[in-house]
Amino acid sequence: MKKKFIMIDFFLKHISMFFAYFVLLVIFGLFLVLYINSKDAINHFGFFSFITSNVWSPAFDKFGGLIALIGTFLTTVISAIIAIPIALGIAIFLVEICPNFLKTPIGIAIELLAAIPSVIYGFWGLFYLGPLIEKYVQPFFNATLVKLPIVGQYFYGYSSSVSLFTASVVLAIMIIPFTAALTRDALKITPDLLKESAYALGATKWETISKVMFRYSKGAIIGAVLISLGRAIGETMAVTFVIGNQDSLPTSLMSATTTVTATIANEFTEASSHLYLSSMYLLAFILFLLSFLLIIGSKMFFLRKVRD
């Protein structure tokens, strides 16, 4: 009887250990598989000329990642510019302004929206938001912002329901609930004692929020923002529907272009040559490294504070 116990214990310990270590195996395998498969593209084009070349031509078997990387960079940055202030507003509202009986329902609503799959956001952008942007926003831009000197041309567009702008807005709407939930948790870590001390010294509510709470949870908020950027940079479906998938550099906010994820999603299964496929592995490898760096960075800021 005793022996059976020892056997089962031994078995359970080692099998559960295997699955825990399996995670390390997967991350290592990811790195290795992406590297090995992108090696041909690295050898053929050279890493730096790959990321600085804007030629993406399956017909001539010549590939460069610049267009996709710039598309990814721009959609991520523009969506962050739209989403982060709104998300911070929601977080401040939920933690400090909102009456107590509304906190839970609004909080849950936001978390549920963060759970909606990204393919739904992309789909909604294609069939609902895109046409609205084409009908209202773009004529508005053409009538106002385009008239501005120098920067005006960057807002010009013609019948663009799918564009860099649409993709960034959809992406922003998608990451708002995610970022809001994270920054709310980050703001919540401020001890009540500190807030009460600020009020006792005669600080207004806004001063308490901006000078006490923000300062206290600065690290955690930066972490939350970085993790949201990581989410935006690797998002595929919300962008693929509405970016236009054109292998050309965007000339304005309203022009169609592509991103790393959209290129991979659209062309991976159609790759006709080995070099073509390898170039897409290389794009995926770069994306993997970028998002991993963002996650590690956010962990250094965020988790240290929240876990303490």
């Binding site: 359970l12 825990a20 498969n37 709104i86």
Partner: protein, 277 residues
């Protein structure tokens, strides 16, 4: 004093306004989705298969069943292994250096772009097997599930008070009995909540399925054959040229949104129940 008060009002109003802008957008999505899509959901969507392109009618039976198959197999692969991994971290590894490394890596893996997991499985499963398959799609989703399950199970089991374990040990129970009959029993509601959450997280995944289970027009549920799933079908139909396809895509969007929300809410109810107890 006055200046500070004005600043206070401006700051608070800006946050409140941005909160309402955000909430408006989010409500808008749900409302417009229901308003434009709901009437495309009817009985034949669930019972019929696709008709020839461009013809009105037809349904998503194969895609719905395909989605169920891929997600079920992924859950069978991802959940038990994830639970075991979580058990190791909380019951055996505890605070050792390597366990903390695994915790961090597993946390980080939940944020890796899912399309990259798709490519990884393409290289490791699809290429050696010689084609897209249900199995490849399920493995991709399972790999997405596993780190979520590991991290949450670890967190939940660590909340179980040590006194319970000590009491069981004192009665002479071997470790596996302590884990399964004491620790897991205490945390069972939380474990169910984690399982539901993990399913809701992969239910709507599209990108990792694009290069693994792919899509198919022939109704076949064999493990080594490609299969239609709701998400990929929705993508293909939305990008396609026919109105009838777009209508089915709207129906798919509604079905998908509500099933994800259903699992998510169920998971929340369980975790609420856990804290109440």
């Amino acid at each position: 004093m006055r200046k500070r008060k004005i600043k206070n009002y401006i700051g608070l109003s800006i946050s409140t306004i941005s909160a309402f802008i955000g909430l408006f957008f989010l409500l808008w999505i749900i409302v417009s989705l229901i308003e434009k899509g709901f009437h495309y959901v009817n009985w034949s969507v669930f019972t019929q298969n696709a008709v020839s392109p461009g013809d009105e009618g037809g349904g998503l039976k194969f895609a719905i069943l395909g989605q169920l198959e891929v997600v079920s197999i992924a859950s069978l692969l991802g959940i038990p292994t994830g639970i075991l991994g979580g058990i190791y971290l909380s019951e055996y590894g505890k605070d050792s250096f390597l366990s903390n490394v695994i915790r961090n890596v597993s946390d980080a893996m939940t944020s890796i772009p899912s399309i990259i997991i798709g490519i990884f499985v393409y290289a490791l499963v699809v290429v050696p097997m010689g084609g897209f398959s249900v199995l490849a799609g399920s493995i991709a989703l399972a790999l997405l599930m596993m780190p979520i399950v590991i991290s949450s199970i670890d967190n939940i089991l660590r909340l179980v008070p040590n006194e319970l374990r000590e009491a069981a040990y004192a009665l002479g129970a071997p470790k596996y009995i302590v884990i399964f009959k004491v620790v897991a029993k205490e945390a069972i509601v939380g474990i169910v909540s984690v399982i539901l959450l993990a399913i809701s997280r992969i239910l709507g995944e599209t990108a990792p399925l694009l290069f693994t289970s792919f899509n198919s027009n022939f109704e076949s549920y064999k493990l080594n054959k490609p299969i239609a799933t709701l998400t990929v079908t929705m993508y293909d139909y939305a990008m396609g040229p026919y109105d009838s396809w777009h209508h089915l895509a709207w129906a798919a969007a509604i079905i998908l949104t509500f099933s994800v929300l259903l699992f998510n809410i169920a998971s929340r109810l369980f975790s609420y129940w856990r804290f109440r107890r």
